[in-house]
C-alpha cells in the first residue's frame, strides 16, 4: 500500500472531517458566552459573559427577551424518557430472550421489530396521530400517544442490543442451574440477569437518550404539552437569541453526565472481574 503518501493525506483529511463534525458546535458554544441582553446570536462577541446562562435559570433582571419555556418541558421529557426506557428495555429483553429458541416466523417477527427503527419518525408520528385522532377519537398527550410512538422507536434498539448479548451467552450456565433444582424463573433472576446486566444497562442508555432527544414522532403525537425538543423547535420560527445556544451547551453537558453515570455503572459491573484477574496475575 502506498501508505507513505496516502496515510498522511488521509490523516489530515480525517482531522478536517472531525472539525466538520464539531465546528458548528464550537461556534455555538463560543456564542453562548455573548454579552446580553443586547448581544445577538452572531459574531463578533461584544463582550464575554455568562449572561445567557443566568438568563436560562431566571437569574437575570427581566428584559424584552422572554426566558426559554423549558422548565416543565424538561420534566416531561425526563419522565417520558424514563417511561420509554423501562418499557422498551423490558420488551427488548423479553423478545430477545424468546429469540433464543427456534420458532415459526422468527424472521418475520425480527423484521417487524426492526421496522420500528427504520420507518421515519414523520410516518410513525402521522400514523399514530391519525389513529388516535380520527379512528379512536382520543386526545393526544406526551404520556400516551407520544409514549407508544417512542417505544416503537426505541424497543428495536434495546432488542438488538440484547440479541447481541444473548448470542454470546453460554446456555450451559442456565442448564446447570436447572439441574441443581432451580426453577427457570429463579434461574433467570439469579443467573441470567446478573450476567446480561451490562447489556441491559446499554439497552437502557440507548432507549433513554433516543427518547429524550426524539423530535419528529413527538411533534405529531404529543398534543398540547410540549417536551423539550418541541420547546426548542418552537424557538426556531421566532428570532433566536444566544440563550438557546447556552441551553444547547447545558443539554450537552447533561448528556455527558448521563454518559458518565452509565460509564461508572459499567465499570462497577466489570470491576470485580478485572480485580480478580489482577489478583490472579500476582498469584
Amino acid at each position: 500500500m502506498e501508505s507513505k503518501v496516502l496515510k498522511p493525506v488521509l490523516a489530515v483529511y480525517v482531522a478536517a472531517f472531525i472539525l466538520f463534525l464539531y465546528g458548528p458546535f464550537f461556534v455555538l458554544a463560543i456564542l453562548s458566552f455573548q454579552q446580553g441582553p443586547e448581544g445577538g446570536p452572531q459574531f463578533p462577541i461584544i463582550e464575554w459573559s455568562t449572561y445567557w446562562y443566568r438568563h436560562l435559570f431566571g437569574f437575570t433582571p427581566p428584559s424584552r427577551i422572554a426566558p426559554l419555556p423549558v422548565g416543565e418541558a424538561l420534566v416531561r421529557s425526563l419522565t417520558l424518557a424514563f417511561m420509554t426506557m423501562v418499557t422498551a428495555t423490558v420488551l427488548g429483553v423479553m423478545a430477545a430472550q424468546a429469540f433464543r429458541r427456534r420458532f415459526k416466523g422468527k424472521g418475520l417477527v425480527f423484521y417487524l421489530i426492526v421496522l420500528g427503527m427504520m420507518v421515519p419518525g414523520v410516518l410513525t408520528g402521522l400514523g399514530t396521530s391519525l389513529l388516535a385522532n380520527n379512528v379512536i377519537g382520543i386526545e393526544r398527550h406526551w404520556w400516551s400517544t407520544a409514549f407508544v410512538a417512542h417505544v416503537v422507536y426505541t424497543f428495536p434498539f434495546a432488542f438488538l442490543v440484547m440479541l447481541a448479548i444473548l448470542n454470546r451467552f453460554d446456555n450451559s450456565v442456565e442448564e446447570a442451574s436447572w439441574a441443581l433444582g432451580v426453577s427457570p424463573v429463579r434461574t433467570f433472576r439469579k443467573v441470567t440477569f446478573p450476567l446480561i446486566f451490562p447489556g441491559v444497562l446499554s439497552a437502557m442508555l440507548f432507549a433513554f437518550t433516543l427518547s429524550f432527544d426524539e423530535f419528529p414522532r413527538t411533534l405529531f403525537a404529543s398534543g398540547r404539552d410540549q417536551t423539550l425538543p418541541l420547546a426548542i423547535y418552537g424557538t426556531f420560527s421566532v428570532e433566536i437569541h444566544p440563550n438557546i445556544f447556552a441551553f444547547g451547551v447545558m443539554t450537552t453537558l447533561f448528556s455527558f453526565a448521563l454518559l458518565s453515570v452509565y460509564g461508572i455503572l459499567m465499570a462497577l459491573s466489570v470491576r470485580r472481574a478485572k480485580k480478580t484477574a489482577m489478583q490472579e496475575d500476582i498469584v
Binding site: S3, L21, F43, M94, V151, S255
Partner: protein, 290 residues
C-alpha cells in the same frame, strides 16, 4: 406422545408469552398506523373535517399541484445529493479509521469522536449551523479575514445549500460507521499478498478493498436514505421555509388538519422508502455478508 406435545406446547407458549407484548405493541402502534395512513389517504376532506367516504380527490389534488409535485422532486434531489456527499466525504474517513489505522485504540478513539456529537440534541446540532453559515457567521468572517471575499456570501444560510450542508454533517457518521466496520474485517494478509504480487494501491482498492466494503456502503446508504427522505426539521430550520420536502408538507398539512392530504404524502413517502431500501438490498445480499 401426548405428554410430549403438552410439554412442547408449554415451552412454546412460554416463548410466545415473552414475545407477545412486543409483537402486539408493534402491530398496534406501528403496522396499524401505517395501514391507517394508506386508508385515510382515500378519505374525503372538507375544509373543517374529514369523513371516511372513499375518494381519489386528495390523490388528484396532490398530482395536480405544482407545489406538491415540486416537493417530491426536491426530496428526491436532496436525497441524491446528500447520499452522494455522505458517501464521498465519509468513505475516505472510513478508509482511514477502518483500514489504515494500525492501532486498535486509535481506531476506537476516532470512532468514539465521531459518535460523541450524537449526545447533543439533534435540533441543537441543526441550529448550530446558523451562527456558522449566517451572513455574520463564522465561515463568512473567516473567508473575509482571509481576503477571499469582500462581501459576505448570503446564499450560505436559508438556502438549499445550507440544508445540504446541515444534513451531510448530521448523517455522514451513519455512512462512516458501517463502512469502517466492514473495512475493519478485511484480512490484512489478502492485501499484503496482493501487494507481493505487484498490485498497486489503485488496483488493490478497486479489486479487493472496495468490493469487500460494499455491504457497509449499502447499510450506510440505507440508514442515510431512510433518515433524509423522512426529514423535515433540518429543512425547516436551515432553509427559512424555502426548501419544502415531503416531510414539511406532512407537517403543514397536519397543522391545518388536512389529514387526507398528509396521508397521501405519507403513502408516497412510504412507497419511496420501500423502493429505495429494496433497491439497495438487491445490490448486496446482506444476510450472507453480515
Amino acid at each position: 406422545m401426548t405428554v410430549d406435545t403438552i410439554r412442547n406446547n408449554r415451552q412454546k407458549s412460554f416463548s410466545q408469552l415473552l414475545l407477545a407484548p412486543g409483537v402486539f405493541w408493534m402491530l398496534l402502534f406501528l403496522v396499524a398506523p401505517i395501514v391507517m395512513i394508506i386508508y385515510v389517504s382515500f378519505w374525503t376532506q372538507t375544509t373543517f373535517s374529514i369523513n371516511s367516504t372513499l375518494t381519489l380527490a386528495s390523490w388528484k389534488n396532490f398530482f395536480s399541484s405544482e407545489a406538491y409535485v415540486g416537493a417530491l422532486w426536491t426530496t428526491l434531489r436532496l436525497w441524491l445529493i446528500v447520499l452522494s456527499l455522505t458517501f464521498i466525504i465519509g468513505y475516505p474517513a472510513a478508509l482511514f479509521v477502518g483500514l489504515l489505522v494500525k492501532s486498535k485504540t486509535l481506531a476506537t478513539v476516532l470512532l468514539v469522536l465521531c459518535v460523541i456529537p450524537f449526545w447533543t440534541s439533534f435540533l441543537i446540532r441543526v441550529l448550530a449551523w446558523r451562527p456558522m453559515l449566517g451572513k455574520e457567521g463564522a465561515i463568512n468572517i473567516i473567508l473575509q479575514k482571509l481576503g477571499l471575499i469582500n462581501t459576505p456570501i448570503e446564499a450560505l444560510l436559508f438556502s438549499e445549500l445550507s440544508v445540504v450542508i446541515g444534513m451531510t454533517q448530521i448523517y455522514v457518521v451513519f455512512m462512516v460507521g458501517p463502512i469502517a466496520f466492514m473495512l475493519g474485517r478485511i484480512d490484512r494478509n489478502i492485501i499484503e499478498a496482493a501487494r507481493d504480487l505487484g498490485a498497486g494501491f489503485g488496483r488493490i482498492f478497486w479489486k479487493i478493498i472496495f468490493p469487500l466494503s460494499l455491504p457497509g456502503v449499502v447499510v450506510g446508504a440505507i440508514f442515510v436514505s431512510v433518515m433524509v427522505l423522512g426529514e423535515f426539521a433540518t429543512s425547516g430550520a436551515l432553509s427559512g421555509r424555502k426548501v419544502n420536502l415531503l416531510g414539511n408538507i406532512i407537517v403543514t398539512q397536519v397543522g391545518s388538519l388536512k389529514w387526507a392530504m398528509a396521508s397521501v404524502v405519507g403513502v408516497i413517502l412510504t412507497f419511496l422508502l420501500a423502493v429505495v431500501v429494496a433497491g439497495f438490498l438487491r445490490i448486496v445480499d446482506l444476510k450472507s455478508e453480515l
